[in-house]
């Protein structure tokens, strides 16, 4: 669902429908009763490929210990303006 122009689509929930057309209509009825959205995408659950939750430690290991990728790692410039 895109809640308004300029915002990316965000997952809001799941539903059942016999086909894609009805899924979009059902999603409108179920998730936009109070103007929550200006655009809806629906995706069949079996079309989604996910990372393995059991392997999340190893899978997301790479950024660990690489805090030099964050601006906050660099402290010597403290007090210097516009940096």
């Amino acid at each position: 669902m895109r809640s308004s122009r300029g915002i990316s689509h965000t997952h809001v929930g799941s539903l059942h429908a016999p086909d894609a057309t009805l899924a979009v209509r059902n999603a409108r009825d179920l998730y936009t009763r109070r103007n929550e959205g200006v655009s809806i995408w629906v995706v069949p659950a079996d079309a989604i490929t996910t990372s393995d939750p059991d392997a999340k430690g190893a899978f997301f290991e790479s950024p660990a210990g690489k805090n030099y990728r964050h601006a906050s790692y660099y402290t010597k410039s403290e007090g210097v303006k516009h940096l």
Partner: protein, 327 residues
């Protein structure tokens, strides 16, 4: 209330028997984090959630009936539109919750089957009839009020999909309570007959609404475990007490009398004392012997049967389109 020993706590003598995945689950709960659908979880946790979420979903679906009944008879076009929106919200809330329950491995079809076969429970409050227009007010004010009181802490339930469904539900629910309060307020500002109708309705719904929080803490066997798992955050009696504390000043604004002669402020405990709840009635209604149990289930069964051709037609159309797309 004495809270029994925390059941999931790790027994140091027994620490070796806790598997790595169970340890991870325990750590997440201890850190007040969230459990997500594909995480490992104890069978008891899964079963408790399936039971609680599906009962909750069924309550929303059956809960459409006492009010759906009044859509055509509401006194103005505005009230009809409001009631229609409220009943539509309840259908939506049922669907959010069915989706949340499905992430635990139970199918939507099975839940529907359990409901229409009379094997699943739903909130006993919906087994009371709604014979007057004032009931639309009392249901909104008292029944939805109690539901909100129960549901706000559930937004922080440890199971992610349940908490997220509850956030959405709570956002929408507050309109329900306010519109009910407004119906009662208008009746209380009306003729003597209208005031009488409002008071009569409050008399009928007050006690069943207090029963919605469930049995007293010392008679609520699953509560301690649910609290240990961070599904439940407050005990039944605590929530009931909080609810009554909110109701008293609201009743004063309305000018209605809450039908409990023993209700009075207790300075010492800083809360209201209240009369004894009739738990025999609660258990009777729960066991299916309430005033409207049979009617509610029959209506749900009929609606399901009458919708059969729609489901079949939609599926047939989808299948036909799929064949066309391939060809």
């Amino acid at each position: 209330m004495t809270i029994p020993p925390v059941p999931y706590a790790i027994d140091p003598d027994n620490a070796a028997t806790v598997s790595a995945e169970e340890q991870q689950f325990n750590d997440l709960i201890a850190a007040d984090s969230r459990i997500e659908p594909r995480d490992w979880m104890p069978d008891g946790y899964r079963k408790t959630l399936i039971r609680q979420i599906s009962q909750h979903a069924h309550s929303e679906i059956i809960g459409m009936q006492p009010e759906g009944n009044w859509i055509t008879r509401a006194p103005s076009l505005k009230r009809k539109a409001i009631l229609l929106a409220k009943v539509q919200d309840e259908a939506g809330h049922g669907l959010y919750l069915y989706s949340a329950a499905q992430t635990l491995g139970i199918s939507r079809d099975l839940m529907t089957e359990q409901l229409i076969a009379g094997k699943a429970r739903y909130s006993s409050i919906f087994n009371y009839p709604s014979p007057t227009w004032a009931d639309m007010g009392a249901i909104g004010w008292l029944v939805d009020g109690a539901a909100i009181c129960n549901q706000v802490p559930l937004c922080r339930a440890s199971y992610g999909p349940y908490g997220r469904a509850m956030v959405r539900i709570c956002k929408e629910e507050s309109f329900h309570q306010r519109q009910g309060f407004e119906i009662l307020l208008e009746l209380m500002n009306g003729t003597p007959a209208q005031r009488e109708m409002a008071q009569d309705s409050v008399n009928r719904w007050y006690w069943p609404a207090l029963q919605m929080f469930g049995p007293p803490d010392d008679d609520s066997p699953n509560s301690a475990q649910s609290m240990a798992w961070n599904i439940k955050r407050f005990s039944n009696d605590d929530l009931r007490q909080r609810f009554v504390g909110m109701l008293v000043p609201q009743a004063e604004v309305l000018g209605v009398t809450l039908p409990d002669p023993d209700l009075r402020w207790n300075e010492e405990k800083g809360a209201y004392d209240m009369g004894e709840i009739d738990w025999t009635e609660f258990h009777e209604v729960l066991a299916g012997r309430g005033p409207a149990n049979a009617r509610r289930l029959q209506r749900r069964r009929d609606a399901h049967d009458e919708g059969q051709w729609v489901r079949e037609a939609a599926a047939a159309y989808a299948a036909k389109q799929a064949v066309k797309a391939v060809a």
